[in-house]
């Protein structure tokens, strides 16, 4: 549709090559490449100050890159397709004196939706999300979370083909975070491309088909979440009744052993390249006494550590230690 396609064969909603942005000599974004397939939920993962928001702003045309090339929904000037894009900025902003329904309609009007239709859809959306009672309240009369929900609905009122959320989960309680996750999945099912930035890995892990890991303005990894995870071999966790025997020769050399009081042991080692079946056969034939065996695939956090480095991972953990689901 737009010329270029992703590795999976889907046309690209966003294509960016070598984006560079400098502020007063400081390079905030340093050669970012992105390929976001249409209909995907795409996460941009990185600690604060990594360049996520600057990248999104360049993609949306709020600022122009110093160098590089971008194409959004087939257009090189993002404002040319602004009516098909929804955007929720990191720092939320609504006119405090506006009614909720008018705020939604106004954001729609900015995207070319007639005001009357915007009001109608605004009421509809507010009803759908349990905020119908607040439709005629001024924004200043709403709680921060409710105001944020109103702004999210304003982002969607004109039925965009591409929705860009910048840190959408910050400021929302757990229930509303869950609602937003469901909403994002629903959008993707309807064919809308969703791209969001976050420093909470669990959200990206649960929602995203593809992620871009960004650290210090660079993107060391961009692609499917599974590929990121596969950067780290799966770990095998084995519990045996016997602590030793000829079967041990089947185990890889780089393992870790935790002894048990009853003579048995826990074994931790990377999944052999030959797969689990030959190992399993050797353990059974050697009468190791398998009590439990599990293969643990690496999480996105581990992948992040491996890709972006310990320092970036530590910065990520320091921002939201309680929110990282591991």
């Amino acid at each position: 549709m737009h010329g270029n396609v992703s590795a999976s064969g889907r046309p690209l909603a966003i294509e960016a090559r070598g984006l560079i942005k400098r502020f007063d000599g400081f390079t905030a974004v340093d050669g970012v490449d992105l390929s976001v397939p249409e209909g995907a939920v795409y996460g941009i993962l990185g600690p604060n100050g990594a360049g996520k928001t600057t990248t999104l702003r360049m993609l949306l045309g709020i600022i122009d890159p110093d160098e590089g090339y971008r194409r959004v929904l087939g257009a090189e000037r993002p404002h040319d397709v602004a009516h098909t894009i929804g955007y929720l900025p990191e720092e939320r902003g609504l006119y405090p004196a506006m009614k909720a329904v008018d705020a939604i309609a106004f954001v729609g009007a900015l995207r070319g939706l007639p005001l009357k239709e915007g009001r109608r859809r605004g009421r509809e959306l507010l009803e759908q999300h349990g905020l119908g009672y607040a439709a005629d309240r001024q924004i200043r009369q709403l709680s921060k979370g409710m105001a944020q929900q109103v702004q999210i609905l304003g982002t969607l009122v004109h039925k965009p083909r591409l929705v860009v959320f910048d840190e959408p989960f910050s400021g929302l309680d757990a229930i509303n975070q869950g609602k937003l996750e469901r909403m994002m999945r629903g959008l993707a099912e309807d064919g809308t491309t969703v791209i969001f930035s976050t420093h909470v890995i669990s959200h990206a892990e649960r929602l995203c088909d593809d992620v871009a890991i960004i650290a210090a303005g660079k993107v060391p990894f961009a692609g499917p979440v599974d590929v990121a995870r596969d950067r780290i071999p799966a770990q095998v966790r084995l519990e045996t009744r016997s602590g030793d025997g000829p079967w041990r020769a089947a185990l890889p050399a780089d393992l870790r052993r935790d002894g048990k009081s009853d003579g048995g042991a826990f074994w931790y080692f990377p999944l052999p390249e030959t797969g689990i079946e030959p190992l399993l056969r050797a353990l059974i034939e050697g009468e190791a006494g398998i009590l439990s065996l599990s293969i643990e695939r690496a999480g996105l956090h581990d992948a992040f550590v491996a890709i972006a480095g310990e320092a970036a991972a530590r910065a990520l953990e320091e921002e939201t230690p309680e929110a990282i689901g591991r």
Partner: protein
């Protein structure tokens, strides 16, 4: 997402309309607009209070007087002459206070009269009625030189000559009073424009800064080009102000019709009230768009309110300067044309184009738009246009190269009629003390008409012939080039006495002598003597 999408790409102006509509409604139904409506009351109250206080101060402040240091008989003669003239001339003459009666042959340094500070003496008159010497600060002695000379002449001549009775024929107005009234109307209109423009530009700026603070600007910037945001905000405030002006107009009309004859009769402006209002609205719109665009540009560059204040101060100062220039231009109907064409918009356009971001660019476009409409509106001024030039004569004209020298001392203009005759115009001020042949012979006029210049009444009264002084050149400049004496202007009222007695030539001339002892900032003071 089953419903069909109904949104479409907005053009720059459609997006500006969305922004403007929201801003217009939001401002119109806010407290800000209420205070905006009350805005004109504040200057009225302030001006009223200031005028009242100023009048009270003038009433209570002691009037400066002329100290007289002369021989007893001369001093008495001077005081008598002053009092006699004062009865006829009113308060135009300064008070005379005898500081010291000198004995025959006694000398006295006039500067000593200031040392005692016994009274509010601003200058000291010494010498004799035939040879008066006025000592004091240069501005004061020059201001009083005519009056003192007139009193001295009267003291010298003795008994006051009877003046002819003046038969009064009252008219509703005169050219002079009409012009003065029109000037006041123009000043009022200019002040209103200035205040309104300043207030609105400030409101636009604070509106933008508030949105930057609220982070709404990012929602706008992501959806529409920044040009649209600026256009929308600029024109929304313009629309708000037009609503405000309409409200004021309606209230004014109600008061006017309600008060009936009790309403004060304002002088009709030169172009008439309807055109004044029309031009006023157009000029206001242009001025506001120009200044608002600059302020928006400042707002786009500033991150904090403090930065806004810092950045906007030079612009505010510049606007004050423009205000003063406009005030000056109002009194200089022809010289003011040049001021009307100062290409402010070019300078701002350059500044805008080099500023960061598209905000400055948008502002620059706003400025260009404002400049274009302003040019369309023309360079006509609000209010009266006093006649500063007058026809002094006509004659056969032979062209010799250029019509006039490049630096024509008389600043002449000419026009050739169909009959081949040429009419000349010369600024009235350049005609003083000269006759037609003198002016004509300085240029390529071969057959100037002979005879003295018949000067018409100027807007500010009559012009007197300046004193003859061999040390001054024809432009009133001294040989040393350091001192330039202004041509003295007297009102008809003050001149009536001397003219009756034979004109200005009978009054003693004033001679300037520096008095270093009373000099301020190194400016030489002058003693007047013969």
């Amino acid at each position: 997402m089953t419903e069909a999408r109904q949104s479409g790409r907005l053009s720059v102006f459609a997006a500006a309309w969305v922004i403007a509509r929201r801003d217009f409604v939001a401002i119109l139904f806010s407290r800000t607009f209420f205070f905006f409506l009350l805005g004109p009351l504040f200057p009225v109250i302030v001006v009223g209070l200031a005028g009242s206080v100023g009048q009270r101060v003038d009433q209570t402040a002691a009037q400066p007087e002329v100290g007289v240091v002369m021989e007893g008989a001369d001093a008495d003669a001077m005081v008598r002459a002053r009092d006699a003239l004062a009865e006829r001339l009113g308060s135009g003459l300064p008070g005379f206070l005898v500081v010291k009666r000198l004995e025959p042959g006694e000398t006295y340094d006039p500067a000593d009269a200031f040392a005692g500070r016994r009274a509010n003496i601003a200058a000291v008159l010494s010498g004799t009625p035939s040879d008066p010497v006025l000592t004091g600060p240069s501005n004061q002695i020059h201001a009083w030189s005519g009056a003192v000379a007139m009193v001295a002449a009267q003291a010298r001549d003795g008994e006051l000559q009877p003046w002819p009775d003046v038969t009064f024929q009252a008219t509703a107005t005169s050219n002079a009073s009409q012009r003065a009234g029109r000037l006041k109307t123009a000043q009022g209109a200019q002040m209103l424009l200035f205040l309104l423009t300043m207030m609105l530009a400030g409101m636009v700026l604070s509106n933008l800064v508030e949105e930057k603070g609220n982070k709404i600007i990012e929602v706008l910037a992501a959806a529409v080009p920044m040009e649209s945001v600026f256009y929308g905000k600029l024109f929304a405030m313009l629309a708000v102000s037009l609503v405000g002006i309409s409200v004021w107009g309606c209230v004014g009309a109600l008061i006017y019709f309600g008060a009936g004859s009790a309403f004060p009769d304002f002088p009709t402006p030169a172009v008439g009230w309807p055109l004044l209002f029309g031009l006023g609205v157009i000029y206001f719109a242009m001025a506001y768009l120009l200044l608002g665009a600059v302020f928006l540009s400042i707002g786009s560059m500033a991150a904090t309110v403090r930065e806004v204040q810092t950045l906007s101060m030079p612009v505010t100062m510049m606007q004050l300067m423009v205000f003063f220039l406009a005030t000056f231009a109002m009194t200089q109907p022809h010289g003011g044309d040049l001021l009307g064409h100062v290409p402010v918009q070019l300078a701002i356009r350059d500044a805008g184009a080099r500023g960061p971001g598209s905000g400055a660019l948008a502002s620059c476009r706003g400025v260009r738009l404002a400049g274009a409409v302003r040019r369309l509106a023309g360079a006509r001024r609000l209010g009266p246009v006093p006649q500063a030039r007058d026809e002094i004569g006509s004659g056969a004209y032979e062209k010799e190269g250029r019509a006039w020298p490049r630096k024509d001392p008389f600043r002449r203009r000419h026009a050739k009629g169909r009959d081949g005759r040429v009419t000349f115009w010369v600024p009235l001020s350049n005609c003083i003390g000269r006759d037609r042949s003198e002016i004509g012979s300085a240029g390529p006029v071969s057959k100037p008409e002979e005879g003295p210049i018949e000067m018409k009444e100027s807007p500010d009264g009559r012009y007197g012939k300046p004193p003859e002084d061999p040390r001054l050149d024809r432009r009133g400049r001294s040989a040393a080039g350091a001192v330039r004496l202004r041509q003295r202007r007297c009102s008809g009222k003050n001149l009536s006495g001397p003219l009756q007695q034979g004109g200005m030539a009978t009054a003693p001339d004033v001679r300037a002598v520096p008095d270093p002892a009373r000099s301020r900032h190194g400016t030489p003071l002058f003693l007047a003597s013969q």
